[in-house]
Symmetry: C2
């Protein structure tokens, strides 16, 4: 059993927020079928727009706010116990809805599986 | 973007607790490189001992309690923002430390990757 604690993770500034990449944890490389990082959006803050070829599942562990898909125009409230799945190349932003508490989530991400349907593919044509 | 909300998930009784398997969510099959389920340990409750060939990462999203490895004898406090990685075939139990609030975590699990070292392997010989 190995525990990973956001509170004691080494954090760096990325995407306009604080990020704790799991590469810092010994023994995870080659063992997890995904990459992972803690993400902390400060009170009143938001992430910069993010877009990457990996699919991403973000699991909210504390705080509250909104997750926005710039690609689809969808914007939904989130709090602990809600997970958001982003398609490959889906542009997205996280907004902290509190001026007092951080919004914290664990992002896990992986390259699309061979043959996996991409639910948002029709919306993902490059924008000119 | 697809959201998965524990509060509206269909839950069933398994392992002595309430479980919301992600197979209920359309579009996840063949898209996630892992299985997933919400787990809710009721106030004052605990899970039955669990043991399976999959490796498992459990991400605590609310409540507090303890996670116990029966295999190693390790027992550690957990709360939101802590994730626990269990090795393949590691026997484990979750304890809710509150008489008022549920302990909620998201379990994700996968078969060990080819060539992946199993950190706890020396402790995992069958007990006679």
């Amino acid at each position: 059993m190995q525990l990973f604690e956001r509170g004691s993770a080494r954090m760096t500034a990325e995407y306009g927020i604080q990020v704790g990449r799991w590469e810092q944890y010994a023994g995870t490389e080659g063992r997890l079928p995904f990459g992972a990082m803690w993400s902390v959006v400060p009170p009143g803050g938001r992430t910069t727009e993010d877009c990457h070829p990996e699919q991403e599942l973000a699991v909210v562990v504390s705080g509250e706010g909104e997750v926005e898909s710039v690609t689809t125009g969808d914007r939904r409230p989130v709090s602990g116990g809600i997970a958001a799945l982003m398609d490959s190349s889906e542009r997205h932003i996280w907004h902290n809805g509190s001026d007092e508490h951080p919004l914290v989530f664990l992002s896990i991400y992986w390259m699309p599986l061979p043959g996996a349907a991409d639910a948002a593919a029709p919306d993902l044509a490059p924008r000119s």
